[in-house]
């Protein structure tokens, strides 16, 4: 007797379910498409009025004045200003925590610190923004600022206050992803180094750190992308003065803050202000897209090597 190995008939129910599930997955592609469509149409309209080279190379951003000027550089500089100082603070702390957790901490310390980091990373940015401007600026930045250096820190809103808050927000992200990358380095490398008599510091810095470098860089790139896209902290702490500067003690405006301030009012969809929101949004989207893709590639690289 030949065994019956064929299914008794086509199962249409199974196909329908598979189709529904595939549609769910496709919805995320549609989201990206919708973002692009939402951005592109008003952006093209905007460039019909404001020449694209004037937008990209102009050094004056004053949409509310007459005559309005749409040079995007000051608010791009504002975004980079905040990101630069935030990284100067977040990268050493994030990496320090990561190396400590992965190479120095006992398993018990590690398993308590990980959730604490997750909680820190989960605090709403509006709470961090309030903390940055009412605690970070008067009780941390002003006491530590070296006197009259660069004219002192007298302004009520400064880029550095936002950097302080954002650093606090992204340091746990850097710590968590870098710790994962370093923990994924095979134990054999570590044991080999210890057997040769290397100290913990030598093992961490000369063996584990280079082996995990792509994951570490990915965590930093992702952190920069988060910084560039952060809105509430800069809105609360950095002011809203477009300012082409990289000084940490100046009031500035970032791209995100501009979008949030202008789009909140009930604007007419035909106004140039309304369309400028989408043009700035396009710049922001492209900047973060480039960084995200880089970070995704780097993470995949270390996964390929060690997992």
């Amino acid at each position: 007797m030949r065994p019956q190995l064929q299914a008794p008939g086509p199962r249409y129910g199974e196909k329908v379910i598979q189709g529904l599930l595939a549609f769910c997955a496709l919805l995320s592609v549609l989201t990206t498409t919708a973002i692009v469509i939402a951005l592109i149409e008003p952006t093209i309209d905007f460039f019909g009025v404001v020449p694209i080279d004037e937008f990209l190379t102009g050094t004056e951003w004053s949409p509310q004045f007459e005559p309005a000027s749409f040079g995007v550089l000051p608010i791009v500089a504002g975004t980079l200003n905040v990101a630069l100082w935030a990284m100067l603070f977040a990268v050493p702390i994030g990496l320090g925590v990561a190396i400590y957790l992965s190479e120095f901490a006992s398993p018990r310390v590690r398993s308590t610190m990980k959730p604490v980091l997750e909680i820190l990373a989960g605090i709403p940015t509006v709470a961090i923004g309030i903390f940055a401007i009412t605690f970070g600026l008067p009780h941390v930045i002003q006491p530590l600022w070296p006197g009259d250096f660069l004219g002192g820190v007298e302004k009520p809103f400064i880029a550095l206050a936002a950097s302080f808050g954002i650093g606090l927000m992204v340091a746990p992200i850097i710590a968590s992803i870098s710790d994962d990358a370093m923990s994924a380095v095979p134990g054999g490398l570590r044991e080999g180094a210890y057997a040769m008599g290397a100290s913990k510091m030598k093992v961490a810095t000369k063996v584990i750190f280079p082996a995990a470098i792509s994951g570490i860089v990915a965590s930093i790139v992702l952190a920069i992308s988060r910084t560039v896209g952060e809105t509430m902290i800069v809105l609360l702490a950095a002011g809203s003065t477009p300012n082409l500067t990289f000084l940490p003690n100046e009031a500035i405006q970032t791209m995100t803050a501009y979008i949030a301030v202008v789009a909140t009012g009930d604007l007419s969809t035909a106004s140039l202000d309304y369309k400028s929101v989408f043009a700035v949004g396009t710049v922001l989207f492209l900047m973060t897209l480039a960084m995200n893709l880089l970070s995704i590639r780097l993470v995949r690289k270390y996964r390929e090597v060690y997992e």
Binding site: Q18, L20, L21, C24, A25, L27, S28, T31, T32, I37, A38, E41, P92, I93, G96, V97, I99, Y100, F104, M113, P115, V116, E118, I119, L120, G122, I123, P124, V126, A127, G129, I130, F131, F135, P172, A175, G197, S199, K200, M201, L222, S225, G229, T231, M232, L235, L236, I259, A260, A263, T264, G281, F285, T288, L289, M291, N292, L293, S295, I296
Partner: protein
């Protein structure tokens, strides 16, 4: 006899010499190395302490500054621009609850459905499946304000044209956290070993029966953790809501399709930007309420993960 004594003496000396050499090269590391190592460990510990100090200072400051305004009337009073003593968060709290209910309705079926498709059905060698994957990873890191623009240009106006209503805010937040849910659900599904699937298939179950009866039940804790973390993210987001009409001065209880709604983080932001001391205290009281809810949710999610994490 004499010879044997000499030999044992030589062996003893040789052993001692070797031991001394090994000890010198291993335990008696150069002094500089030991000092450097300790300094490095101290620096690392300092980084950990700074991160912890930031968390503790944030919580402590919220409690000190928010305590005077804390009370049950926060939950019953409506916002006011003039009288901070009788201003509260009622419409904002209700708005946040309704927003989150909408997010859950949307994100749970679609997030889990996408994850099942990508883990159980999709053929990873096909370019379109790889594209979906990269696309989701990118969406997880798109700035929240861009989702606000999407909501404004696509949901409030444009194709869906819902207007500035609560449902538009809900949809925007749902799209924002959908990638988080998908990524977490995929990890949970991937952790179920293949032998379970093969066992079910070998007994004659169809693909969907295998997923429905074996894979999904085994991955529920991981999926639930991801969903809770995603919801707590949605609860704390303010930026995209600013763009889709979370107008801050709402003194009535919000309805899903009624004009105008508010949410906790937006209301906190609004109070925080007022110069008066009393409104600042209100903002901090709001922060306490929100942090309380979020900490409870996150702790529960982490507990859930650690409690039900299965080692196969």
């Amino acid at each position: 006899m004499e010879l044997g004594g000499m030999q044992s003496e030589r062996t003893r000396l040789a052993a001692a010499g070797a031991r001394a050499t090994v000890a010198a090269s291993l335990s008696n590391r150069p002094r500089r190395d030991v000092v450097l190592n300790n300094a490095f460990a101290a620096l690392l510990l300092l980084a950990v302490l700074i991160a912890l100090a930031g968390l503790v200072a944030l919580l402590a400051q919220a409690f000190v500054k928010g305590a005077p305004a804390l009370g049950t009337d926060l939950f019953t009073d409506v916002p006011s621009t003039l009288r901070p003593e009788s201003a509260g968060f009622r419409p904002a709290i209700l708005g946040s609850l309704e927003l989150i209910a909408g997010v859950i309705l949307f994100v749970v079926p679609i997030g889990i459905g996408s994850a099942i498709y990508l883990e159980e059905y999709a053929d990873n060698t096909r370019w379109w499946n790889r594209m979906i994957e990269v696309n989701i990873q990118n969406l997880a890191a798109v700035p929240s304000i861009i989702y606000g623009i999407l909501g404004l240009g696509f949901i409030v106006r444009g194709p869906l044209d819902l207007g500035f209503v609560l449902v538009a805010g809900s949809l925007t937040l749902a799209l924002l956290v959908l990638p988080m849910v998908i990524i977490a659900a995929r990890e949970a599904i991937r952790a179920v070993p293949d032998s379970i699937r093969q066992g079910a298939l070998a007994l004659g179950a169809t693909r969907w029966q295998t997923i429905r009866r074996q894979v999904l039940p085994a991955s529920v804790p991981g999926i639930a953790t991801g969903v809770i973390l995603a919801i707590s993210r949605a609860l704390g987001e303010a930026a995209p809501l600013l763009l889709v009409g979370a107008t801050v001065f709402v003194t009535f209880d919000p309805t899903p399709f009624g004009d105008g709604f508010s949410a906790m983080p937006v209301q906190i932001f609004q109070y925080a930007t007022r110069p008066q001391e009393e409104f600042q205290a209100l903002a901090f009281a709001g922060v306490i309420v929100m942090l309380g809810v979020l900490l409870a949710m996150n702790s529960f999610a982490i507990w859930l993960r650690n409690r039900y994490e299965q080692r196969w």
